[in-house]
Amino acid sequence: MKPERDPVTGRLTTGHEWNGLTELDTPVPKPVYFFLIVFLLFCVGYWLLMPAWPLGTTYTKGLLHQDERASVTARVKAAAEQRASWTSMIEVDHAATVLEDAALMARVRETGRTLFADNCAMCHGMEARGGPGFPSLVSGTPLWGATTDALFQTIMVGINSDHPDSRTSQMPAFGRDGILDATQIDAVVAYVRSLSQPIAPTDRIAKGRELFAANCAACHGEGGNGNSEIGVPDLTDTRWIYGGDSASIRQSIWRGRQGHMPSWDGRLQLWQRRVLALYLVDLRRHAP
């Protein structure tokens, strides 16, 4: 086929034809060359300034001597120095002093909120109210105490974690390990429920009380009030880690329980752990 003139554009075709399809011989539009050159110049400039081309075992370093790792390290350091104006106070000042310092506490609340949401909320919930298997940190009798120091310690070493100084606690599996039989457990369950709920006394509850004194009181205390020395929960309050209905309590006693709280030593910096401890103290203070 001969080149033909296209009536719309006035251009000639190339003379190639496929199944009725043709192509115009239009020259490459000028802007294409223009932008190719502009972009190329930009790139050559960038290559001159920045690390760019490999040279065997090394590479062109660029006139700016930019180094990604060095610049990140420097920026992280500068940010830490800037923050140190208040984080150093958090690290060294007594908790009581900080708790009285309104300006410092404002920073604790601001920073504690995101630290808690990013590191703790997946287990303890956004508002630290806990959920099945994870204790509320704002209400009820605390497992290991609610002073800043106790909280700080818990956060640092964790509970049943792999930290060498981890806090440890375990609720034995009375049913599975054959220490109590099913009817005895039913009795204890009834008794435990009566500790926090107004339930009329029955024979079974009385029997449960005896069994409790013999088997449980060593850890949970005579009245079931728990023991924050060894991280044993209070059974008389309305805060439950695993649930306060008969089935859950039965499960706790039958199978035993051992919660795991990770250690944050090495994962969070000292000032971050202290901020979290202070944040939790503050939350509990203001909890409804």
């Binding site: 496929w18 490459v28 930009f42 760019a52 081309w53 920073t111």
Partner: protein, 551 residues
């Protein structure tokens, strides 16, 4: 279908099927109850069914010699049907994945329906299932028309098409069972990869043989693009797929490279999958169907050449822009970024070439939804490549990376460009290959167009917003010098956009369902075409009378 195979081909087909059945049997035995064994059983059952079917027609009359005077479009017909089925399935999973991000409990408590498993089912379903089948179906059509010759044989095309779909089925069912290499867009394990390799090399050979038999002196641009797609995808697939299986009786394998080398190989693959699968192949489609449907010559042959070589050369360098600010040495990032920037020029060259081709046919764009699909696709192609070059700039990427902005970019490309050009081309091709006067319902095509456009815009705008908000929230510091927002805060902020995205996806999905229906009705109900049809709706030049037998 079997009746069209020559006797020799029937024999060869039988041998292939028996060989596949034996491999399936070996896999089933070696893999036992594990996923590998399940896949073996699947292959075995499929191959046995195929064998019986073939045997049932083995003695049918051999095909007539006149067939050689016509183009062989049956594989394209089946390919279109498969592409549409994968489109509906893949996009259906897409809507589901989108919904999961807004309502996480939507997994129905099933392992296989967890986010990590259905996300790759969605991506593989749409990219490889829908996109791949559309590419194969149209490439068979285009290569015959532009080479003015019939496919070199019947069996090759069927092997490619059905083999490829077996690959897609093994890949997606594998993810449901937890079989994955964990490399994005290259999830299938070693045995599925090997099978794809066999299919892909056959595809390449079919293409080369058709070109070798061509009766046109020049090779049309569309063929360069399709060929680059086939060739480069083979190369990428081989290098990124290098892996050592734990044993020949398990699905698990470990990649040959590790650490940052593996990451770079993966993204060299990943970006060139975008480049050669999602771009080159579909540019091939665009270069044929858009000018034919518009009835216009390509705007500039020279621009086609520059753009083709620009894209082909430059794309190879840019994979590292997916690894900015990572362990990857900075000089590699520099190269990825700078080449991505220059890449904009040939990309816009292609988009401009397509849009300028429409000069003199804009009235058709207004009236014809099929052509409008292709026009909008070219616009989105331009938009996406501009955005891509922008995102590749390191400082921009530090904001966009890991956010929904990337997802928005991807879907401007995937919905706006890839899917739109495919729907346009399929709507053009379906009446031609089924020899119908037009689509059964042009009105439905029109509805599909608006659903697709609305869906894309809702989706992309939602993700742009969500991505930028997310990126900004993650980098905002308060006066104390600590993060102002927690990650969960950003999730809460994204939720409305996730719901909007689900709605957008639903629109797009609904369009695809209508398309399926319309294509089915066209194939079965639409009036047959007769001489004197208008140039737009009829194949511009019916099979050439004086065609030489290809065998």
């Amino acid at each position: 279908m079997i009746a069209q195979l020559t006797l020799g081909e029937r024999r060869a087909g039988l041998i292939i099927l028996v060989a596949i059945a034996l491999v399936g049997l070996a896999m089933a035995i070696a893999g036992g109850n594990g996923p590998f064994g399940v896949h073996g059983a699947l292959v075995l059952v499929g191959a046995i069914a195929g064998t019986f079917w073939l045997l049932g027609h083995y003695l049918d009359a051999p095909p007539r010699a006149e067939r050689l005077r016509e183009y062989y479009d049956d594989p394209s017909k089946v390919g279109v049907a498969l592409a549409m089925i994968w489109a509906v399935a893949g996009m259906g999973f897409g809507v589901w994945v989108a919904a999961l991000l807004a309502w996480p409990e939507f997994t129905l408590d099933q392992e296989w329906a967890s986010f990590g498993r259905i996300r790759p089912i969605h991506t593989t379903g749409v990219i490889f299932g829908f996109g791949g089948n559309a590419l194969i179906a149209t490439s068979f059509y285009v290569m015959q028309r532009t080479c003015r010759t019939r496919l070199p044989d019947q069996l090759g095309a069927w092997f490619v098409l059905l083999g490829y779909n077996l690959f897609c089925v093994l890949a997606t069912t594998g993810y449901a069972m937890g079989v994955t290499q964990s490399k994005e867009y290259a999830e299938p394990e070693w045995y599925v990869d090997l099978w794809l390799l066999v299919v892909w090399v056959t595809y390449f050979i079919v293409y080369l043989r058709t070109l070798a038999h061509r009766r046109e002196p020049h090779i049309y641009v569309a063929n360069w693009y399709y060929l680059a797609f086939v060739l480069v995808v083979a190369m990428l697939h081989i290098v990124n797929g290098l892996a050592v299986p734990v044993s020949f009786g398990t699905d698990k394998s470990y990649p040959l490279f590790s650490g940052v080398q593996d990451a770079l190989t993966e993204w060299w693959y990943g970006h060139n999958a975008v480049a050669f699968f999602l771009t080159s192949g579909f540019l091939g489609m665009m270069y044929y169907f858009l000018p034919v449907r518009a009835g216009r010559p390509i705007y500039s042959y020279r621009l086609s050449i520059i753009s083709f070589w620009g894209i082909t050369f430059m794309y190879m360098w840019v994979g590292s822009h997916h690894l900015h600010y990572t362990a990857l040495p900075q000089w590699v990032q520099t190269l990825g970024m700078t080449f991505s920037i220059i890449l904009l020029v040939p990309s816009w060259g292609s988009a401009a070439n397509a849009l300028l081709t429409l000069n003199g046919a804009w009235h058709k764009v207004r009236d014809d939804a099929t052509l409008r699909f292709m026009m909008v696709a070219a616009v989105f192609y331009g938009l996406t490549t501009f955005e891509g070059s922008f995102l590749a700039i390191r400082s921009v990427n530090s904001l966009s990376h890991y956010t929904d902005w990337t997802v928005g970019h991807v879907h401007a490309g995937a919905l706006g460009w890839v899917a739109m050009i495919s729907f346009g081309s399929v709507y053009a091709m379906v009446p031609w290959i089924w020899k119908r006067r037009a689509m059964y319902s042009p009105a439905l095509v029109e509805v599909h167009f608006w659903l697709a456009l609305a869906g894309t815009l809702i989706y992309v705008i939602a993700m742009w917003n969500s991505g930028i908000i997310q990126g900004l929230m993650w980098r905002t510091y308060n006066e104390s010098g600590t993060l102002a927002y927690s990650f969960v805060d950003s999730l809460v902020a994204m939720r409305p956009y996730y719901i909007a995205r689900t709605v957008g996806g639903l629109c797009f999905f609904a369009g695809a369902v209508l398309g399926c229906l319309n294509i089915y009705l066209t194939a079965t109900r639409a009036p047959a075409s007769s001489a004197g049809d208008s140039a737009v709706t009829a194949d511009p030049r019916p099979p050439v009378g004086a065609m030489q037998p290809a065998e």
